[in-house]
Every structure is written in C-alpha cells, then in structure tokens.
Symmetry: D2
Subunit: 314 residues, 4 copies
C-alpha cells in the first residue's frame, strides 16, 4: 500500500497592489488584492525538496506588481487573465494558473459639487472580484473567467415570509407572513467559453473591455430582484436573482450565490407594556442560515477547475 502525493498547488496570496493612473490632471486608482496559485510539475519540490522547477511565490508577487504597471489599465478580469496566461505560457513547469483579484472601489471626494482630481474616499464595503484560470492542454490552453462581488449587504423590512415548511419533532419555529430578510450576498458568475479563451469569437456583448459593464448590470439586477421579488424563502429570492442575471446576459454560463440569512429577531416588548408590530428587532450574529445555489444554462460548458479556489482546498 503506497503513499503518494495527491493534488497540490502553491502561490502568493494577498498581494496588495495599488495602481495610480496619473497621466492627466485627473488621477485614477485601482486598489487590488491579488492571489496567484499554480499547479504543474512540482512533485519534486514535495518529494525531494528539489526546487529547480519552482517559481518562488516572491517572483509571483513581483510579477503581479510589474504587470500592474504594464497591463493594469483594463478591468480586473483582463489583468487576471493576462497574469494567468503568462504563468502558463512562460513558466515551463506550470500546467495551470489561477489568479484571484479583489477590487476595493474608491469614489472621488466631492468638493463644491465636483469630484476632486486626486482625492478619494472608499466606496462601500462591497468588493468586486474576478478570477481567471488558464490550463494547458493538448489543443492549447483552456480558460475560465469568473466575475463577482461579495459583502453586498441588503435588507428588506417587509415583503418576506416563511411558511408551510416541513416540520419534525425538533421544529419549534413559528410561521411568519412578514419578516425582515437580510443577507450579505456573495455572487460569482462564470462566462461561457467564447468570452474567455477565444478572442476571435467573442460573444455579442463586445470586447473584453465590457467586463465592467457586465459587472454593473449584474449588480443592478441582483439588487433589483432582491428588492422586487416577494420572498417566500431566501432560496426562491436567490434563484430569481440568478435567473434574471442569466436572462439578461447570454455571455454568462452560470452564476453561484451564497447568502447567509442574517436573522433579525422581533423583540418581545410586552413585559414593558409595549406593542411591537414589526418595529424593534435584535440583529443576531450567530448562528445564521446559509443558503447557496447555482443557476446555470442547460448547455453551459464544463466548469473545469473554475470553482476550485485555494479556500476550498482543505
């Protein structure tokens, strides 16, 4: 019975790359958290400590900073793609590369009604995300691109019920026709193959520069559906959010949504002689419900390693 090396990957996590564009009087800023992860012919590094095929994680960090200078002008999806393609194309032992980018957004500070040319204020706690995975293969590299967001915190003060659920001997929850529904949305969407790995055959929405337009649109759709759907359960809300995003965006093959149900408990004010018709709540920390679903096209191409982030390894 032999003991063997199984899956392995390595990289540099959380390089905090800040790129300032100062070509004109108005500066721009890109504030990124970049993680790279490589797979390939690295068994010797584990088995014998031979590092001759190992590109140091320090080099991966350097590359992220250097590429921010040379290739940082576009959307984070393009930056991630360019980096991932570089590792696979230019570093021989690398068979596949994953680049995950978080972007923190900044607004211009408003002074006398106009945006300041070089002073900024952080725009919300929501984070825009992108991931690119490039994997070498027989007929050339395959590519997957994920765009997304997380920490989008939303709440409905009515228009949410939870009734008619399954009961067993451990069920004590009362049914409710009107509750507060609050969550922090994580959403990630995977583009169809045409967009990522085939520059000659882009989907109808146009050139790669449109990643940002898709992001803005999907974000708007997710918010609008969260607001507009009369919720019978968070499951149904998530489905409707994801379905609307796919209906509007043919270039998206799949969207995954993960949403903690941040419970707001109605406080019993009766002991103090007060009524509480849905007005005063305790926002609880833990435990929380956690609802997760994927919405996809029935002809979506295979996801391959798209969802295999470093966080999922162990």
């Amino acid at each position: 019975m032999g003991i063997v090396l199984g899956a392995s990957q390595y990289g540099k996590a959380e390089s905090r790359v800040v790129r300032i564009y100062r070509d004109g009087p108005e500066h721009d800023i890109r504030d990124l958290n970049v993680s790279t992860s490589l797979r390939g012919d690295f068994d010797a590094a584990h088995l014998t400590g031979d590092q001759s095929k190992v590109l140091p994680t320090d080099t991966q960090k350097n590359t992220a900073y250097a590429y921010a200078k040379e290739h940082g002008a576009g959307e984070i999806e393009d930056y991630a793609l360019t980096l991932a393609r570089h590792f696979v194309a230019d570093v021989a032992p690398v068979r596949s590369a994953r680049v995950d980018v978080d972007e923190y957004r900044w607004d211009r500070i408003a002074v006398d009604g106009a945006g300041h040319p070089h002073a900024f204020v952080r725009a919300g706690q929501e984070i825009r995300t992108a991931s690119a995975v490039v994997e070498d293969g027989e007929g050339g590299p395959s590519t997957w691109v994920l765009s997304g967001l997380r920490d989008l915190v939303v709440l409905k003060s009515t228009g949410s019920e939870f009734r008619g659920f399954l009961r067993d001997r451990y069920t004590t929850l009362a049914e409710t026709a009107d509750r507060v529904l609050a969550t922090s949305v994580t959403a990630r969407w995977r583009y169809g193959a045409a967009r990522g790995d085939n520059p000659q055959n882009r989907p109808a929405i146009g050139p790669a520069g449109d990643w940002g337009a898709v992001y803005t649109s999907v974000r708007r759709i997710l918010l609008a559906r969260f607001a507009g759907v009369h919720s019978l359960a968070l499951q149904q809300t998530l489905w409707e959010m994801g379905r609307a995003a796919l209906a509007a965006h043919p270039e998206i093959a799949e969207i995954r949504l993960s949403a903690p149900n941040k419970h707001h408990f109605l406080v019993d004010l009766a002991p103090f002689g007060l009524e509480n018709p849905g007005e005063v709540f305790h926002a609880d920390d833990r435990p929380y419900g956690l609802i997760q679903c994927a919405v996809q096209r029935d002809d979506a191409p295979p996801a391959g390693p798209a969802w295999e982030s470093a966080a999922a390894f162990a």
Copy 2:
C-alpha cells in the same frame, strides 16, 4: 497599607438594535449598536457580592430595545441622551451613565431610477457614532454629547509631501515631495454645554433635530479639507480638518481626530526594466503611523468624563 476599590463601571455592550419605521408606504431603518455603562453606588457588588443596587446588564439591554420603540425616532444623539438621562434619573444608585451608539447607514435600493420603499443596501463601511454622558451633581445633572464617525477611509494620490523632518542615528527614511497619503479617519466632536444639558438655551443652529445636519456638514468639511489641503504632514492635515470643522460650527467645543497613516510603498520595478514614477504601490498592513490630535476652542467647557469610554479603561 490598605487595598481599596478604585474606579469601576459596568454595562451592556453591543446590543444590536434595529428599528424599522413602517408607518407609511415608505419604511425607514435605524441600525444601531448600543453600549451602556453605569457608574455609581456599586461598591457593595464588588466588595461583598451584594447585588441589591445593581441594575442587571440584561435590564440595560431591555431598556435600549424598549426606548428604541418609544424614543427611537430622532437622531442617535437624542436616543443616547434619553437613555443616559433615564438611567441617572430613574435608577437610584446610578450617579453617571454613558451611552455609546454606532449607526450603520442604509441606502434605498434603486429600482428603475427610484428608491425602493422597503429594500435597502448598506451604505459604505463608514460608521456614524454618538455618545452621551449624564452625571448627577449638586445643581442637577451635567451632560456631554459627542458625535462622530469612524472607518472613513480616504486617499490622496498626490498633494502630500514629507520633508525636513528631524533625523537621528536611526533615521533612514528618504524625504519625499510627492507621496500617497491614505488613512482611516476616526473623528469625534464634543458639543458645548449649551447644546446638551440646557434645552432652554440651545445654540444658534437650532433644535436637537439638527444633530444630523451637523454630522453631514462636519463629514463634508473633513473630506473637503483632506482633499484640499496640500499636505506637509498628516499632522497638519488633521489640524486643518479639525480647524475647519470648528470654524464652521460654533456649537462644537472640541474635535478629536485619530488617523493611522496607512503606508503605500512605491514598488521598485527597476529590476524588471520598468520605471515607476508614482504608479505602482504596495499597500502595507503593519506597522502604521498613528497621528492623533485635538482641536478645541480656547474657551471650551471642561470635557469631564466625555472621553472616558469603556475601551479606555484598562
């Protein structure tokens, strides 16, 4: 040589009070984190375990929720004041009460260009704060009110230098005429006595309902000065921010600013044959500079216990 009880205080920290206003078709939301802390005749609780004068922290929590129903409609400063006055006036052993409130702001979700009546999205990571301290005394209670904000993250991509500083044998820092200046501002301002404890003698800005107007104005001024001042040091920037706030708001007696200098280090790209004229930076986590100052009127009334938060106790 005797061993005696010194300063003591106790309370309930971080009650997560959410108040929904649903009187009309448009709901409103107040999302608060409330901490109460009492001082007074509580020595027996320590010395002998006699609880007969101790109002349980559970009761303090209940009171915060009940008052959110009865007195929650105004600004957080009024809510804090009302709670603090209650503890001092209505609970015999309490000699002074401090109520600290954090408010998380929510925006309406935009749907078809209009704000949704009952669906909200968290508005940024910035937190509005208020503290009220009421202390019983010979001639009636004294009152202090602090308003403030924290986690206001700002950055200037130019317009900041750091030169001409003191050098000793441990100094290696190069002077710079152009750097990135980034910080996360904590600001708290203390109102003059008239505003808080003397309803008959309010300052010129008007009734208590104006707390929010002052908050909005001070926030705007702090941002505008951060943007507008050509910075010779973070110290000077903070002074100018605070001074402008006091100049515009006679009702403010003192403002305190605490600002970590979130260092952005220029990355050396020369080894890769690339120039880096202020374009690519590494945003570092630790260590950070920490600059703190108070700006006040020369006739400011005594601060009393205004700045003695629970965080400062030990």
Copy 3:
C-alpha cells in the same frame, strides 16, 4: 437555451453549542461550533417558493442542541456522524447531509497543583475539527469522515533553507541556507471507508471512541515532523508531515495540508552600525505564500463530496 437550477445546499451555520457534563464532582466541557448543510429534493423551494420539503435551518439548530444532550458524550466525529445520519435517515427530502464541527479545547485551571473540578481556561488558539458527510444511495448510505485541526501556529528559527529555485525575469529573491520558517497549519484527514460507514468492519485501531486518540497522535506527528525535517521548502515539509501521519495510521486514506508561509524578513541593521546574523526579523502580514498538498494512499477510496464544504461553494 434554458436556465436551470444547478447545485444547491442550505443549512444552519455556526451554532455555538456548549455541553457541560456534570454527573460527578468533576465537570467536563465540550465547546463546539456546529454547522449543518443539507442537499436533496429542495428544487421547489427555489423555483416556486414551496417550502413543504424544507426543514428550517432553525430546526437544524434545535437538533444540534438536542443531540448535544442525547448524543454529545463522545468525540466530535461521532456527534457529527450521528447528526448527519439523522438528517438523511429521518428527514425524507434530504439526500445528503454534511455536519462540520469546530471544537475549542479547555484545560482545567491549576490550583495548588491540581486541576480544578469546574473551572477552565481556554487551551490555545488551535481548533480541532471534524466533518461527517452522509449520502443516501442505492445500497444504503455512504459515509465520509474528516478529522482535522487548524490555527496550529509553528515556527522554526533555523533548519530551513530555500535554494536552487527556478528564476525568470521577475525573480529577485536571494537564495538562503538559513531562514525562519513559520506557518499556521490547517490539516484535515479523511478516514478510509471502513471506519465511517461500516460499523461491522472497523479498521484495526478499534472502536469509534478512538477518534480522539488518532487526533492526538496525528497532531503529535505533524509537530514532530515539522520540527525534525530539515526543510528545503515548505512543500517538502508538508509532504513529510503528511506522509508520516499516513504511515502511522492505516485508517487514514488521505490528509490535506494548507499552510501559509508567514514571512519573517531579516531587518537591515547595518545603517545603525549593527550586525544582524539571523536575530532580528519583521513578521509580515501580507502577502504570504500559500502551500497546499494532499498526501494519500494509492488505493484510497473515492473522496466523493468529502471536501465540498460550504466555504468552497462560491
């Protein structure tokens, strides 16, 4: 082109279950963080909002607390298994259930050299983990059990080098024959099929009550190998740690290790006229290397859904 529901799961995350055993003069404590996640016939909840097959997450929480009373006496692996089996066996729509448990360990407070019978102090920041997955199938349920630990922070002040690595145009790192090696180990090991789903055919180590003995042994082995292996790279250290665990424990089919390389940078003290022969370091926060690998038997049974935690969903 149809839009369909893809993978989905839901559950209650982070129920903070504390179980006190007080049958004799010496109390014992189990301090747990329990997360449950169910898959099954839940499409209607998404597609139409029909909750009739949905066991509320509140019920899952109740079940976790009730089972802590009835079945909480054993190891966390048994508690997780019992809960997971219950959901699959007793709740009709559930096709598979995953239960993840974190355990916080407590030591008895030492008083006059003896452990106190009912006063405890938290034992370190390291967390013991267990996961059980039960999945219904044709021939009865399949079962997977993972045990593990995380936040095991270790450091070697010598006995670690990093040399002979691949260089490209972005490589600036100097080779080193002696560095500080520090990491925070996450390890999870998967038991062979016999242990989990086949009570009649337990592996040689004995009854289920031995989970704790395996945990203690694997932890000891991981630490000893981290200490004892002269490290040529973190990759090699992890492999040797995992290999030793499998060599000693035939009941383990696979172990996965995830280890951030917590960089300690030698500080340049030359400007101050001081030498620094490996004595003064700056411990950096970000970025960090992240090294991950699996070590497994060549005849390991399929992992199935064992590694598909909720954190990995999106």
Copy 4:
C-alpha cells in the same frame, strides 16, 4: 473665540518585532508587537506643517528593531522602558514617550518527550502586555510601568450565581443560583514608583529581571481566584482577583480588570421532551455584559498618564 491645538501625540503602531536568540544550541524567541507614541514640542508640525522637530514614525520603527538587537534580551517591561527612556533622553522635542508591547508566547515543540531546540508552537491565545511611560519634568523624568495580559479566556461551569439584584420596570431576568460564568480577562497592573524610575531603590522583590516572575505569579493568582471564589457576581469575582494580586505583590500599586460577561444561555429542550439541568448552553456573541474595576492601594502614587493609551484618545 480662538481655535487652538489641544492634546496631541503620534507614533508608530504595531511593529512586529521578532527576536531570535541563537547563541547556543537552544534558540529562544521573543515575538512582539511594539507601538510607540510621543508627546512634546510638536505644535509646529500641526500648525504650519514644519517637520523639523518631528522624529519620523519610520525612525521610531527602526529604533524598535535596533533596540531589539541591543537591548532585547530582558523582559518586555525592560525593553519598553529602555525605548521610552531613549526617546525622552535623546530626542530633544520629546517630552514624554509611551511604549506598548504585546508578547506572543511560544512553547518548544515536544519531540520524544523533550523540547526541541529550535522548533516552536504558539502557546495559547493569551497575550502578555507591558507599557512604559517616561515623562520629562523639573527634577528629572518620571516613569510608569504597566504589566498585564489579555485574552485570558476562562469559564466556570458552576459556582456562580446572580441574585438579589435591583429590579425596575425593564427587568425580566430571572434570578439564578447556578450559572455558567465565562469571560475573557484583560488585566493590567501598575507598579509603584520605586520600581520604575528609581533603580537605586528597587522594591523588595528584587531586580528588574523579576518582571516575568511577577507576571507568572499574578496570572496564577488571577486564575486561582477566578476558580476558587464562589461568585455572587462578576464584579465580586474581579475584586477578589485583583485584591489577591495586590495582597501578594507589594510592588503593585493598582490593577485594573476588564471582563466581558460572555453569556451562556441555557437552551430550552422541553419541546423535544428533554430535560436540561445545566447541561446544554448556547454561547452568545453579542451583547455582552462588560464589568470593569480598579483595585488599588490607598497610598498608590498618582497614575499620571499611565492609562492614557492611544486607543483611549478619541
């Protein structure tokens, strides 16, 4: 009505200094988080941006690292004192300096029953702290030294009651003769003047090298009293803990304790036909009680700026 600069201070926070002692075959490690804060003649830096009297925070960081080489061998109290004395004595504009040090403790990894000479594992989540404040004055500098700990998490499964408390119209809490008492202790003790600023007149316990002995003793006393005192309230427990520390250590003038009451709520299992005689609890996150008290000698010297940490500024 003039606007003036009030209190101000600045420094470098959270330098992560790691010092390895490798003089013999057995290495030792000191793992520190060092923050420095200076007060003095710095008004011009605020008012006009003139930095000529400002020692950069970068220099303060350098000094912390350099002193770790030159003066790092002793206890953290001595290291903090030496640093603080340096800033006041050697940097002309500095009138007072505060140095706060957190120490993370490491144990040797046990291999075959013996401690490994250069491999370590982090010892618990508890942090040892020290602060030194040196303030220039007419007759030479005054000195204050604080030692302490935080994140010492403790729990009693019985031996704690809470009864006979004050009730008002908002009180719903039931009295209890047996509850779980859990907290995370922050303790800081202030030495009498003789110890810190007067090497010629050290207290009876001996030379400065005894800081560690006092730390170990106070920690042991705090734990023993937490365990041994039948608790009528957390207030009483804290008093007894502090009193015992002072009774055993004449060199301590004052000890301050801050302790969140980490509530453990008995879970109602009756709906499931189960009794719950103090066995199954929900450990809640927020809100929490927060109990704080000082225990001091009636002839304690003035505390001066000892308790004015940067965290307490605004």
